[in-house]
Amino acid sequence: MHVNRLFSGTISLHDGTLTISGERKSEPSNGEKAERTERYVGKFRRSITLPTRVNANNVSATYRDGILTVTLPKAEEAKPKQIQVTID
């Protein structure tokens, strides 16, 4: 996800849905005349339903070069496990 500077944001996890939201404010203009702008200014929001259950206590996030990376480890019960078969 690309999230740039001058923003305030929240990352929240609820019921298996990850939500990233925030707002990018425009630069304060001191009598400047804007020629042209393509960059989005305003509120943003994105929700992602996670395919498996995650361990909410171990969620981490980094923000580098304008890219937000959220790491969500799978919950123990969601990890694939080998099941031993005993033959009587």
Partner: protein, 135 residues
């Protein structure tokens, strides 16, 4: 299928690198312009800015991290960024400066000294110029 034609197409694709045009905004103040270009995934090492014949080209190489695991979904194109801007001739190319922060490149493009706005009447200035040209 004609395998010879297929091979040629791959070679062409390797030579013509695909680029994505980054979003930009331009703000004018009295003494120059501020150009902001959004290039998420680009840092100082991947940024290249060049000027030729009044054209400013910004190139951004993304530092892509190798995907650990299975890629389930991707929306962002992994292509690098490139955009060319035609500069107003009033800009002093020697005084252009740039900085990059969280993927956003900010360029200051100052106008040359002699084109900065004058404080006396514009009409008077224009008339004075016309008279000089006729001589």
């Amino acid at each position: 299928m004609n395998t010879f034609a297929h091979k040629n197409r791959d070679a062409d694709r390797a030579q013509d690198e695909q680029f994505v045009a980054p979003s930009a905004s331009v703000v004018e103040a009295g003494d120059g312009y501020t150009l902001e270009v959004e290039m998420p995934g680009v840092n100082k090492e991947g940024l290249k800015i060049s000027i030729e014949n009044n054209e400013l080209t910004i190139l951004g190489h993304r530092s892509l991290l190798a995907v650990k695991g299975t890629l389930i979904h991707r929306e962002s194109r992994p292509d690098n960024y490139r955009r060319t801007f035609e500069l107003d001739p009033s800009i002093d190319a020697d005084k252009i400066s740039a900085k990059i922060d969280q993927g956003v490149v900010t360029l200051k493009l100052p106008k040359a000294e002699h084109v900065k706005p004058f404080h006396f009447s514009e009409k008077l200035f224009h008339l004075a110029n016309c008279r000089q040209r006729r001589n």
